[in-house]
Subunit: 338 residues, 2 copies
């Protein structure tokens, strides 16, 4: 048997799962951003024909799953598990989509780290031979998230400059035990890290230490260095968190500057789109990965990627009770056959 | 390689994971119920020395994990994963406990099906050799759940007779690749089922069809029948849901009457404790399994158990928007060496 456990937090797969297809659906604002050409579908109305933003988000997640399955030349009934979650209380978006799809369902919650968490668990389920095909998916929606976490949009509250803009979008990936496409070779599962940030308008700063912890652990467990990657991409630290993360990792002795970027900075043009620090939400790293990164890997413009989705594990209740914001990050190494 | 996938939804393990230890902490009311002697710790005050019920729930989950690890003669640092979730928005109870424990953390959400979901995923991670030790844990708290899902307790609202009483309690299980104790041999992962129930005071009825679907699938996938079990126990269908489930399974041709019970009926004496239809909440099947069932298995009074934790995937938002209640159930087969 090959070495599978590297250190305490990293697994190297014997039979690296293949991402045979992905799909993305995004909202109008995301469709005006720099990555517009990478998304499969851009909604013209963020209600998507539904009566509420929550139902629109659920439909977006469901249709993204269907699109990913179709692009992989598979049927819904081929999917053995659906690993999914979202930001809404009790995963409303995911639960209703899972009901409509009828795929055996394992709900997950890691806030905006969902994409990496579902890819991590999914990879173990494929490599471990518990499934030949499964879907990993997540979503977020600006309007449903704002009213749940912050203020009714109708109030028109001013946003602080460190605030991030929740991405309206869903990204789905089909993992398979065989087939063509980029492969997941390693995962590093994160711990919850909390350095005491309480500002809910500065989630990048709250999540950065978790991203740093996971990335440094990944380097130590695997022996990989920044130069072993074409791209190391955090989930949604945005401008404030990205700078903190890069500095903190620099302090440990790794220079990531040449290969490091953040999904929250890639998805919007902050200057032109007034998105302040950048994008956030489960849909941020999901659509950037399933859209831009996956397609660039298929074109072989990117070959070795470390996806580090980051989550802020706060709730309105925890904030109202004066608690700080726990952060988490999971890392997934995806490579093209060389 | 042994057969591992049975049907579309069931896995049989090659190296069945061992549950080397469990622990439970419950609230005062649960400590007055029929299972009182099985719980490791009974709180005299459901605030547990904290300033809020949410923080009390989080402390309960954290201390239950520590107790389970200690009873298994292990250290926190031996745990390679913590698979956990709870009912609070964004898993507040779990997230803060995971922060304090520092174990690599994979958050899950299946409402009251959490115990079976975490045991299912945990079993695949152990059998697949991704971990030698991990903890599966969940919690619920009457007071934090009531105010999040229903009404402020101070209102003293009258409860309908089909309503259930959220268990204040946490149950944790340590899964290991070797060691002594009951073993998990099969898991059957459920689909989301929704037959249109909208009454949030009748969650047993909403979840029963999901339990039926998973149990019948388990029988069909494995060839097991009710008589292959000493106990088939659903999560928290309570009196209304249990009767529906037993009837529906009878209609399919399986007579479960001799071995079937429900954790929501076991934990309280509904007559004396005024708990109406019975117990509910993630803590219900968690404390009944980790307390009563596990200890009876260790004494060999029970040898073959099917734990079917059931979850109602509603949120206050989905109910307010007029949606029905999606249900889910996951089944875990636990046996003593014969």
């Amino acid at each position: 048997m090959a070495i599978k456990k590297l250190g305490k937090q990293t697994v190297q797969f014997k039979n690296p799962p293949t991402i045979i297809s992905t799909a993305t659906i995004v909202g109008p604002k995301e469709g005006e951003g720099p990555l517009r050409s990478y998304f499969d579908r851009i909604l013209t109305d963020d209600l998507y024909g539904e009566n509420s933003w929550e139902l629109a988000e659920s439909k977006m997640l469901r249709e993204t799953v269907k699109a990913a399955i179709e692009k992989g030349d598979k049927k819904i009934s081929d999917m053995e598990y659906m690993l999914a979650g979202d930001l809404l209380n009790q995963l409303m978006s995911t639960s209703f989509a899972a009901r409509d799809l009828g795929i055996p369902f394992l709900g997950i919650y890691g806030a905006c780290s969902n994409m990496a968490e579902s890819l991590s668990l999914g990879s173990m389920l494929i490599d471990g031979e518990y499934a030949d095909y499964l879907v990993a998916v997540t979503s977020s929606h600006y309007s449903s998230a704002e009213r749940q976490y912050r203020f009714p949009l109708e109030l028109g509250n001013q946003r602080s400059l460190s605030a991030q803009w929740t991405v309206t979008g869903s990204g789905a990936a089909i993992l398979a035990s065989k087939g063509k496409g980029p492969k997941i070779t390693h995962i590093t599962t994160g711990k919850v890290i909390d350095l005491g940030i309480k500002d809910v308008n500065n989630m990048g700063a709250a999540m950065a230490p978790a991203a740093v912890d996971t990335i440094v652990t990944h380097f130590k467990d695997t022996g990989f260095k920044p130069e072993d990657y074409d791209l190391i991409v955090t989930g949604d630290l945005a401008s404030v968190g990205k700078e903190i993360a890069q500095d903190m990792i620099g302090d440990v002795g790794y220079d990531m500057s040449k290969v490091y970027n953040d999904c929250g900075l890639l998805i919007f043009d902050n200057e032109k789109q007034d998105t302040h620090a950048g994008g956030s939400g489960c849909g941020c790293s999901a659509t950037v990965f399933c859209g831009y990164i996956y397609k660039e890997m298929k074109k072989r413009n990117l070959n070795k990627v470390l996806l580090v989705s980051t989550g802020a594990l706060l709730s309105t209740t925890s904030s109202q009770q004066g608690q700080s914001i726990p952060g988490i990050a999971h890392a997934v190494r995806i490579v093209n056959d060389v």
